[in-house]
């Protein structure tokens, strides 16, 4: 039996696959002891022998956000101790004289240099003596470091010295992270930063994961524990404990994979994911069949991480974002948030207007169904305080509607960054909405971006857990080679080495997988690379593919220009057990089985009499014409006038969004 468990701030979602059917359980999270909720989930789903537990964890993310990781010693080539702090010498905020210093996870006293040097070609120019290394060990020991990150210049070209340094330090008995294993790729700052994050997370993640494994295994013979990586692939718990830097977006990655699977079953290929939470909103672009785009240029909590991660873009606005007017009279929403405490006005403690309050005033929160009716919403207080804060706006409704428009404009901008700015036309996509606020704002956002369709998946509360349950097991290996394009034939041996490493790792976990080869190429002199798949029979075709991809991505290609092979990559994949969801019979209906009430809801320009439906009482084939609101436990879907929602055979809501009338488009 396979169980997936996704830990969130409030709830832990548990999903398992029994006889081809998904079973879902929701339990409260246990932030003080994260493994307790996981074990409770396993117990409630009846996990026993041979249970395969897959976990999406927030321990890594929280450690980064709370800055509660280990005291890390950073060991590098002498003369370059500060590179971990200098970074790329640019500032994050152009016009802010009072911006705080950028984050460096390694204090000045914990940066150590080794007298050594390797050349770009991998030649050892200088080696540390045994005395040098003994002195280093003493220094690190005296520093009180709780973990070590080693990243020497050009260690990926020749790891010999880095291995010697590792061998010297391993005796200290604290976790040691080594750059040529974590990320054997060039660009010293990004490689070192990734290695340091790994060391920073190592002690806490190791103890958490090993406790988890130990508490599951004894009671469940033949069981195993796997962890979701930020790349959207599953990895064995022991690998995650060694390389925790690969799990910093474990939770959100499950949501991306889940959204892709749901969209694929519903028959939509190109999707834009839209996950609106309390303080922030995540958006991403994906192909439902082949998965979301990966990036190697992520930043988490101000720190660059260069291992492959799903390309999730975050906007600093969500349901809890606060409204304010500035000195020039403009309305702003966010990035300041009311958070869980004091929370929105309508929950009773907050005193400043949030997006949730605005939605409440506009009739878009159903007090009855909101979190199962467990939260009392205070209408009188909300209107009174919002009236005091509405600035020059005439009415509370105008203030609330204005806040919603401003926050939706920010969401629109975030989606433009990942779609239009990267050469995608939103009109070709389906917007997949989830999270507490996603379904509420999705249709309005889709209209603004001319996205024709919105998909609100069935089981929106368990989307991440479903994604984790169904994800493939994936390991990524890479190495910088920096060779001329003509050497394409000669890198077969390097691929072979990486594949052997992958196959051995998989075999140790009882898995067998397939290897996907790819190369990062660039025109000589460029400072960025494009990744193209390798044609095993005709490797030189990759160069052709590169020219084509370059043309597609950047509008031009130059076949006469020399191409460089920068990195070699192998991705080992063990497919997860196939799953096909059960489709129910579709019977044309009007949703009257789920109609619960009728009341006024504010849509652009005024109040409209609106039908309220309970989602769990709708049936496949139901068609609901807006204005309508479809409520469920954690969210509500707003269907604006003119838009039409259908319930499909899988229980998804598919909404055809009425587009804004775009007349006289072709001007000039």
């Amino acid at each position: 039996m396979r169980i997936a468990i996704d830990t969130g701030g409030t709830f832990t979602d548990c999903v398992c696959l029994v006889d081809g059917k998904l079973r879902v359980k929701k339990i409260f999270s246990s932030p003080a002891n994260p493994s307790r909720a996981v074990l409770e989930g396993v117990r409630q789903l009846g996990g026993a022998e041979n249970v395969e537990v897959r976990h999406g964890t927030t321990v890594g993310t929280n450690t980064m956000l709370e800055r509660s990781g280990a005291r890390v010693a950073f060991v590098t080539t002498a003369g370059f101790e500060d590179t971990i702090a200098i970074g790329r010498q640019a500032r994050a905020r152009l016009y802010d004289w009072f911006a705080p210093a950028p984050v460096c996870l390694v204090e000045k006293e914990l940066r150590f240099g080794v007298p050594e040097r390797v050349s770009a070609e991998g030649e050892i120019l200088r080696e540390p003596t045994d005395e040098d290394l003994a002195a280093l060990v003493e220094q690190v020991k005296a520093s009180g470091a709780e973990a070590v990150a080693i990243s020497l210049l050009f260690s990926f070209a020749n790891p010999k010295t880095e291995r010697r340094v590792e061998a010297a330090l391993i005796g200290l008995g604290i976790p040691v992270s080594v750059s040529h294993r974590i990320l054997p790729e060039f660009r010293e700052y990004e490689r070192a930063s990734t290695t340091v994050v790994n060391a920073y997370l190592a002690p806490r993640m190791r103890s958490f994961l090993l406790v988890l494994e130990e508490s599951i295994s004894p009671g469940n013979v033949g069981s195993r524990v796997d962890i979701m990586q930020s790349s959207g692939g599953i990895v064995a718990v022991r690998v995650a404990a060694e390389e925790p830097v690969r799990t910093v977006l474990s939770g959100p990655a499950g949501g991306v994979v889940g959204a892709c699977r749901m969209a694929q079953w519903a028959g939509f290929d190109k999707i834009i994911g839209f996950d609106m939470g309390g303080t922030s909103t995540d958006v991403f672009v994906a192909n439902a069949t082949t998965g979301a785009q990966l990036t190697r240029e992520s930043t988490l909590a101000g720190v660059p991480i260069a291992v492959p991660m799903l390309d999730i873009h975050t906007a600093g606005a969500g349901g809890g974002s606060l409204a304010r007017f500035d000195a020039g009279g403009m309305l702003h929403v966010g990035p300041e948030s009311a958070g869980a405490d004091p929370g929105p006005i309508c929950f009773g403690r907050g005193e400043r207007a949030t997006v949730t309050d605005a939605n409440f005033v506009l009739g878009r929160l159903d007090a009855e169904s909101f979190l199962g009716g467990g939260v009392e919403l205070d209408a009188e207080r909300t209107r009174r305080l919002m009236n005091e804060q509405k600035g020059t706006l005439a009415t509370v409704e105008e203030f609330a509607a204005g806040m919603v428009r401003v926050v939706e404009t920010q969401m629109e901008k975030a989606i433009r960054v990942i779609s239009v700015e990267r050469g995608h036309d939103p009109r070709d996509f389906t917007l997949v909405a989830f999270g507490g606020g996603g379904p509420l704002h999705a249709c309005s956002l889709a209209a603004a971006l001319r996205i024709p369709r919105v998909l609100v998946p069935a089981m929106p509360g368990a989307l991440s857990a479903v994604g984790i349950l169904l994800a493939d097991t994936v390991r990524d290996f890479s190495r910088t080679v920096m060779l001329p394009g003509a050497a394409m034939e000669s890198i077969d041996g390097i691929f072979g080495e990486l594949e052997k490493q992958g196959a051995e790792e998989f075999a140790a976990e009882g898995l067998s997988g397939v290897a996907e080869r790819s190369v990062d190429l660039r025109y000589r002199g460029q400072g960025f690379e494009l990744n193209v798949a390798l044609d095993a029979k005709k490797p030189e075709r990759s160069i052709q593919a590169f020219h084509e991809l370059h043309r597609q991505r950047y509008g031009f290609a130059d076949v006469a220009r020399p191409v460089e092979i920068v990195n070699v990559r192998v991705r080992m994949i063990a497919a997860s057990e196939p799953y096909e969801p059960e489709r129910q019979a579709v019977v044309a209906g009007d949703g009257s089985s789920g109609l619960t009430a009728k009341r006024d809801v504010w849509f652009e320009g005024g109040w409209r009499a609106t039908q309220l439906y309970k989602r769990e009482m709708l049936r496949p084939g139901d068609e609901i014409v807006g204005p309508a609101m479809i409520t469920e436990y954690t969210a509500a879907t707003l269907v604006p006038p003119g838009s039409v929602a259908h319930v499909d055979a899988l229980g998804n809501l598919v909404i055809d969004v009425r587009q804004e009338i775009a007349s006289n488009e072709a001007t000039a």
Binding site: A85, L153, D326, G402, R405, T409, R422, Q526, E660, N664
Partner: protein, 533 residues
């Protein structure tokens, strides 16, 4: 200034929409440009202007372009009677430009049925070479005629067709015509992206609304600045500072300013009377650069999310004497005005402002971009190479905060080249890249430290430096000490000789020589032991 006429919600939405147009143009330019300077160092800017050529949105790109882009658009409007499908090009510092490598494209956006453009979109990019006497067009010229091709506002696209004669003339005057052609193409494409997005806005909201919102956005920015000025104390605040020299003579160059702040009128008058006359070396600034520096300083007084529109400049009167270092006339050479003098103008403005609002202004930052060019033949390939990079320094201490170490400040924000990338690409071995400890000025709050970079040359090469802050160090404020001056030394191969390099010079070096560059630290803020807050 009018009272607010548009509602605060529509204003926010419009501001976000036009700003995202500028950002999208920037993304298109970055994606399609050919040269590393545009793609990776991101030395470009994009902006949207109303029908009168007033900037209503600028992308978060290069600060030095802020105040000068509108002058390019104004110059294009004055010189060309635009028709639909036209596009203009220019780089002449004496007709709307700043220095020759910065080429600007301007596209008028026509709405169906209207005779005059309803909007303009424009972008500016720093080209790696625009001809002239020195490769890279940033060399020590003494007249603009030796600095490269000078393009007065010219129609490069007519009725949608590129004017081959104009383009061929430009490409025929530069060293790397193919790369230039690609970059210019990218700039034209980015303008068209902007045009499409503007037209979508017109289709969605209609011209009447957009025109009203545009006016309101300008008024809004103006209100933000006036609200700041209103809070300041009235008075005249004088300051000066110096550039070490112009690379031709040893004469220091003075930049002086008087700020007249009038909180009652919510206005500021900036007068550079007393500044040195323009010089022979290439550090002269045209008026557009001086205006950019003023724009930058005002913009920094506002909140981080305030939009960069021309309304910011309305409360400001700029007086820059003609023929001076801050308003040079032809044929003065100007290549370094953009990178070095622009920083000093900011230093002087902030020094004066610190007298008016002491707790809102940091001490001086490094004040030089430390431009390094190294050229030669790579023995590994037998091909010529040309390396150019700027090096960051220390940030001045802030009231309440130490300055940041090793970071680009004020008018630039370009990235460094990774050591490992550098050694793959050039015959260099980097021996040291560290903070220059102790270089930040001491004080209640310490100035940020500069950087030390040591490069061993693995081939004979010519090393050119354009740097400042050797004699006149980054000032501290309120008793904080000055930052340490910058320094560059060539350690000769085979002996212990260390030859100190002047701030602005070009020297031949041998294989095995080591170039050591130390960048200035930032000034400190407040004397040690000062009570805070």
């Amino acid at each position: 200034m009018k009272a607010q006429a548009v509602d605060p919600v529509e204003l926010a939405i419009f501001q976000s929409a036009v700003h995202s147009i500028a950002e999208e143009m920037g993304a298109a330019l970055r994606r399609t440009a050919l040269s590393p300077n545009i793609k990776e160092r991101r030395d470009y800017s994009c902006a949207v202007f109303d029908g009168r050529g007033r900037a209503i949105a600028m992308g978060d790109h290069m600060p030095v372009h802020l105040g000068s882009m509108p002058m390019s658009v104004q110059a294009a409007i004055e010189a060309i009677d635009f028709a639909p499908g036209d596009m203009a090009i220019l780089n002449d510092p004496y007709a709307g430009g700043t220095h020759l490598p910065d080429i600007t494209m301007v596209l008028p956006v026509f709405v169906k049925g209207e005779n005059a453009p309803a909007f303009y979109v424009a972008n500016r990019a720093h080209h790696a070479d625009v001809g002239g006497k020195f490769a890279g067009s940033m060399g020590p010229a003494t007249t603009i005629d030796d600095e490269g091709i000078r393009i007065a506002p010219t129609r490069i696209v007519r009725s949608g067709m590129v004017d081959r004669k104009v383009l061929d003339w430009i490409l025929g005057s530069v060293r790397t015509p193919e790369e230039r052609a690609g970059d210019l193409d990218a700039q034209m494409g980015a303008c068209r992206v902007g045009e499409q997005r503007v037209l979508q806005l017109v289709a969605k909201y209609g011209m009447e609304k957009l025109a009203a919102w545009g006016e309101e956005l300008l008024d809004y920015s103006e209100r933000l600045v006036r609200a700041e000025l209103k809070k300041m104390q009235a008075g005249d605040f004088d300051a000066d500072d110096w550039l070490d020299d112009d690379g031709v003579s040893d004469e220091p160059i003075r930049i002086a300013v008087r700020l007249k702040i009038d909180p009652a009128a919510e206005a500021i008058d900036v007068d550079f009377a007393g500044s040195s006359l323009q010089v022979a070396g290439a550090v002269n600034a045209v008026r557009a650069i001086t205006l950019s520096a003023c724009f930058y300083v005002l913009r920094c007084l506002l909140g981080e999310d305030a939009p960069a529109t021309e309304g910011i400049l309305r409360p400001l009167t700029l007086r820059a004497p003609e023929g001076s270092i801050v308003n040079a006339r032809p044929p003065a050479a100007v290549a370094g005005g953009n990178v070095e003098t622009s920083q000093r103008i900011v230093d002087v403005l902030m020094r004066a402002l610190a007298k008016a609002v002491p707790e809102r202004v940091p001490a001086a930052s490094a004040g030089t971009m430390t431009n390094v060019t190294i050229g030669g033949v790579d023995p590994r390939t037998g091909e010529a190479f040309a390396y150019y990079e700027t090096a960051a320094g220390g940030m001045g201490a802030r009231p309440g905060l130490d300055g940041i170490s090793g970071v680009h400040t004020h008018m630039t924000n370009s990235l460094n080249t990774p050591v490992e990338a550098l050694e793959y690409a050039y015959p260099f071995r980097v021996r040291r890249y560290r903070y220059r400890y102790g270089s930040g000025g001491d004080g209640k709050f310490r100035g940020g430290d500069g950087l030390v970079r040591e490069i061993e040359l693995l081939a004979d090469a010519e090393v050119t430096l354009l740097a400042d802050r050797r004699l006149f160090t980054p000032y501290g404020l309120k008793g904080g000490e000055d930052g340490a001056p910058g320094k560059a030394v060539v350690m000769k191969v085979g002996n212990d000789q260390a030859i100190e390099m002047a701030g602005k010079c070009s020297v031949p070096c041998e294989k095995g020589d080591v170039l050591m560059i130390e960048t200035p630290g930032g000034g400190g803020w407040g004397y040690r032991g000062m009570k805070w807050p």
